[in-house]
Amino acid sequence: MTVADPATLLLEARALSFHRQDEPVFAPLSFQLKSGELALVEGDNGSGKTTLLRILAGLLHVGDGELFWRGQPMHRDTCAGDVLFLGHQLGLKTDLSPRENLHVAAGLHGRHPEKTSATVLADIGLCGYEDEPVRRLSAGQKKRAALARLLLLPATLWLLDEPYANLDRVGIAMVNRLLEQHTAEGGAALVTSHGSVSFHGGEPRHIRMHA
């Protein structure tokens, strides 16, 4: 992956809003995200945090307003492979092992040139569980197996919906470390979370959601 110029504007939303049955899910939002930046999406339950991430990932269509990716109108084809989404549903097949799940993900999305599934699984703290079916893992270990994708796949923008849920204290510190590494390498991330985020790589941007 080429390390981007630190000032590159990656994502820009202009008066973005979304309606469900003519009811606005959240008030119009405008924000920018440059490479090397982390944005925390904050808001109460039901304020549309997950909806926002699903829109940015391209799973939901944009209601009103505009969305730009690297200066181009954001569309499936302009950002394909550059955006990695991790939602409440982890996208793991429970009959497959973490290693097999990673192989499938790498087969579909490609992989970081200098990383392999073995090193990634060791980094994420699943040493010894690489070949255990995911259904036998604990909730926190499942989360780690899904987070391993962040390390292996080559994506610039991470959209993480509650990445800290189910993780122990070591796991939370690990997610923070992953975010620091990613932003230091010129990536960007949008993170929703209820918990406290201690991010050492500079002040994160805050996106406040209002219903």
Partner: protein
């Protein structure tokens, strides 16, 4: 950044679904057992009269296999929707229609192929003449992928609705009528010693059309299902 390439992505998808099916290989045997039991019921219900069973054998086997395939069709996309794999698939930088085509192919290999392998046994149970069995197998090799593809479109359309199994059957069975007519027509013609190639060619033409269009329809339907 390195794109894995289309061939790699297709292989990864196919390998994933075949591995998953192999881990639950008990499920693969279910449709075959169902087809065996249903076929066994006919001689009991109609009496063991050779000429009658021979006359209906082709049609009975076709309809039995169609219904057996319906049993497994429901699960084609549902587990992927539940665990979020489908979201990841939609977001992958690969043509979704092609990836879904691979899923349908894996589904055909794990449900229809075992049924086709068991067909000579079903034919023997109904005293179908051995000379007709190759025609029956050829008709099934063309008709079953057609059913898988049509079924996949309907599964994608009903994705997200609760208790979609019955709805699926009600929608799919009428669409299967042409496939059943042509497949049964070929078998009946072969039984009477008449030329049977024309209905087979019709089946092949319908299959080509479905291979080209059904994955696209599936992709569009599933994108809509997720966008809700």
């Amino acid at each position: 950044m390195k794109n894995p390439g289309l061939a790699n992505a297709c292989a990864a998808m196919l390998r994933r679904d075949l591995t998953l099916a192999w881990r639950r290989r008990g499920d693969i045997a279910m449709p075959v057992l169902y087809a065996l039991i249903v076929t066994m019921l006919f001689p009991f219900a109609l009496g063991p009269e050779d000429s009658l069973l021979q006359r209906i054998a082709g049609g009975v086997i076709l309809v039995t296999i169609l219904l057996s395939m319906l049993l497994a069709l429901d699960a084609l996309f549902s587990s992927d929707i539940e665990d979020g794999s489908l979201e990841q698939l939609v977001l992958a930088p690969q043509p979704l229609a092609l990836m879904l085509g691979m899923k349908i192919l894996a589904h055909w290999i794990t449900t229809a192929l075992p049924l086709i392998v068991a067909t000579p046994l079903l034919a023997a149970m109904l005293h179908l003449p051995a000379a007709v069995i190759p025609v029956l197998l050829l008709a099934l090799l063309l008709a079953t992928p057609l059913l898988s593809l049509l079924g996949a479109v309907l599964v994608a359309l009903t994705a997200g609705t609760r208790r979609s199994g019955m709805l699926l059957a009600l929608m799919l069975l009428p669409l299967c009528v042409p496939a059943v007519i042509f497949a049964a027509g070929a078998v009946a013609a072969a039984q009477q010693g008449l030329p049977w190639l024309a209905p087979i060619v019709w089946l092949a033409a319908a299959l080509v059309l479905a291979v080209a269009l059904a994955p696209l329809a599936c992709a569009a339907a599933l994108r809509i299902a997720l966008d809700a």
